[in-house]
């Protein structure tokens, strides 16, 4: 059974993103989808252009914080939205491909701009044999 899935969780002012996966990398990929869906519907984004992201940090929590912030940075500076994520994690090093396209206001109807990942409810852990990665993002 494929355990990969994502969800949002409630935060009054902002919103929480959570990814589940069989592996740590898969949980990170799913959380990235959860973040994208805060902005627009995933089905509206065509996976056309791949970009590469690398980060490294001292533990899983901060690596996840770095990953989400790296994506936010790429979305902001390239004016892109991403719909497909391929993550590889080796120890505390992450290497990923995010694939998407340039933002088109008409097509994507983006609702908010994401400011950054936060330490609120930040956590990477295992639960019932699954990896979970989550945090609240500031919008």
């Amino acid at each position: 059974m494929n355990a990969a899935r994502w969800e949002h969780f409630e935060h009054k002012a902002d919103i929480g993103i959570r990814g589940y996966g069989n592996t740590l990398a898969e949980a990170f990929e799913q959380a990235a989808i959860a973040m994208t869906t805060v902005v627009t519907d995933l089905s509206l984004i065509h996976a056309v252009t791949p970009i590469h992201i690398r980060c490294a940090d001292r533990d899983h929590d901060t690596l996840f914080y770095d990953w989400i912030n790296a994506l936010i940075y790429e979305m902001a500076t390239r004016k892109m939205l991403f719909s497909q994520f391929n993550v590889e994690i080796d120890q505390e090093r992450l290497s990923a491909t995010a694939t998407g396209e340039a933002i088109d206001i008409e097509q994507h109807q983006p609702s908010v701009e994401i400011k950054g990942a936060t330490f609120t409810e930040l956590g990477v852990y295992q639960e019932d044999g699954l990896w979970v990665a989550q945090c609240v993002i500031d919008v």
């Binding site: 901060t62 902001a76 500076t77 206001i105 908010v112 701009e113 609120t120």
Partner: protein, 476 residues
């Protein structure tokens, strides 16, 4: 929040005595009804802030307090550098120097209403709003440095804005002590095409009418009269501030550990003011304040251009510009002694009382204008700082309504198109690139801002001056 945990000082002031590692008490300024509606997290966060080193007098929560990042949103706390006091990125927030400015127009309701849709279209075409929008200004490294040092004054030197505006901006439009070299290349890159953009989320540009005057004397000094048309702009330091916030939040977690500061919550990440990281953050944060001031100045210029196309006679003088996510070095009197303190205001507006030397001469007797934003369907308020407020929470007041419902809940309850139509029937024109964004910002998703400002006034934090209702709202 369970009100039974609080000690009642008055109907709008509640205390939590120092306990379990709190260095000072916590004070919440709000009515019983607002407190009962507050998240329990506010209790946790306002008491956690009271545990930080070097905090002076008390940790405060404003009437609109809600769950923030380490500090509550609507939180105020001052620190003494000589007592090991700290500066915290979470205590300022990601959108550094987010704030509100209000412009006079000199226009009459009738003439605006006769061209309401045309004016909405012009403003919407002129002021870039929403995700992915860019401005017409693109900064190279040298210009970026000058902007981060110069703030609104930099914008005016480049022809965006009027020289007289500077007197009506906190710090006269230019925050001293900014250090652009502490702003990362990532933060600068995020900003290079974003000058003069409104952003998204709860940021807006509104054309408003004054519907009620509460204090005729102060209103007159502010130049606010019944039926006046005003324009208010709510936005901040854009991508640059967000990037600085995320970078320093992480750095400060490590710094707190290095300095032996025990954090009750990782999000309270902070650094001693006199440490290297503390000074780096202050330099970067002040640069971000200048970025926000420059950004609002450019948007003001674009607004003037748009309005003048339809109304060449309009006079769009600046009433005032406030920032509500900052940490500023200020002088305050503590037990009869004047002290330099670092005052964090996270989702709180500075509200200096009458006579304060920072205020421009024309406003000094009235007190600082305090601009409180509402939603696109309710009201905004103009208040004035009070003498009493200077001793309550370092001359601070609330900043807005705060959400009562998450964005997700809001999109389940409303459709953007319907919200726009409902507001149109009430005479309010909305322009936004995103219908979903409009649904998320539906007026019903916010708390009642009237109750918040009434409580701020009852607590003595600020005095009500006028109420404004929207006619046009440009939503990012």
């Amino acid at each position: 929040m369970d009100i039974n945990q609080l000690q009642r000082i008055s109907n709008n002031e509640w205390q939590i005595d120092a306990h379990a590692g709190m260095r000072v008490p916590a004070l919440i300024y709000a009515s019983e009804a607002l407190i009962e509606d507050m998240d329990e997290k506010v209790y946790q966060q306002v008491t956690n802030v009271a545990r930080l080193p070097g905090i002076v007098k008390a940790s405060y929560a404003m009437p609109d307090a809600h769950w923030g990042y380490g500090f509550p949103i609507g939180g105020v706390a001052a620190f003494d550098a000589d007592q090991g006091g700290v500066v915290s990125a979470g205590g300022v927030g990601f959108d550094i120097s987010c704030g509100v400015r209000t412009l006079h127009t000199g226009l009459a309701i009738d003439e605006v209403m006769a061209s309401q849709r045309a004016l909405a279209d012009l403003l919407y075409q002129h002021v870039p709003a929403g995700l992915g929008s860019t401005g017409n200004i693109h900064l190279n490294n040298k210009q970026m440095k000058a902007m981060l040092e110069g703030g609104a004054a930099w914008a005016i030197d480049r022809g965006y804005g009027e020289r007289e505006d500077l007197l009506r901006i906190e710090e006269q439009g230019c925050m001293p002590g900014a250090d652009p070299s502490q702003v990362s290349q990532f933060a600068k890159k995020r900003q290079q095409n974003e000058m003069g953009t409104l952003g998204s989320g709860n940021h807006y540009l509104e054309v408003q009418k004054v519907v009620e005057i509460y204090d005729a004397d102060i209103a007159q000094r502010f130049g606010v009269a019944q039926d006046d048309i005003k324009i208010s702009i709510h936005c901040g330091s854009r991508g640059l501030g967000h990037q600085i916030g995320t970078e320093f939040l992480k750095l400060m977690v490590a710094s707190a550990k290095d300095h032996g500061i025990k954090l009750p919550d990782r999000e309270l990440a902070c650094a001693p003011i006199l440490s290297e990281v503390g000074q780096q953050y202050l330099g970067a944060m002040r640069a971000a304040i200048n970025c926000a001031l420059a950004n609002r100045e450019i948007i003001t210029h674009l607004t003037r251009e748009a309005v003048h196309r339809l109304f060449p006679q309009a006079k769009l003088d600046l009433l005032y510009d406030v920032s509500h996510n900052t940490c500023k070095q200020e002088q305050h009197e503590i037990d009869g002694e004047k002290k330099q303190l670092y005052v964090h205001r996270k989702g709180a507006t500075r509200a200096f009382g009458p006579g304060h030397p920072e205020l421009p001469a024309e406003l000094r007797e009235a007190g600082q204008p305090v601009l409180i934003g509402g939603t696109m369907g309710t009201a905004s308020y103009i208040l004035a700082g009070t003498e009493q407020g200077m001793n309550l929470a370092y001359g601070s007041a609330c900043h807005g309504a705060g959400r009562s419902m998450s964005r997700r809940q809001a999109t389940r309850q409303w459709h953007g198109g319907q919200v726009i139509q409902d507001l149109a029937e009430r005479g309010i024109v909305i322009r936004s690139p995103s219908k979903r964004g409009v649904a998320e910002e539906a007026p019903g998703a916010y708390k009642d801002v009237s109750a918040v400002v009434a409580s701020a006034q009852a607590a003595g934090l600020a005095r009500l001056v006028a109420r404004l209702e929207p006619l046009i709202c440009i939503k990012g």
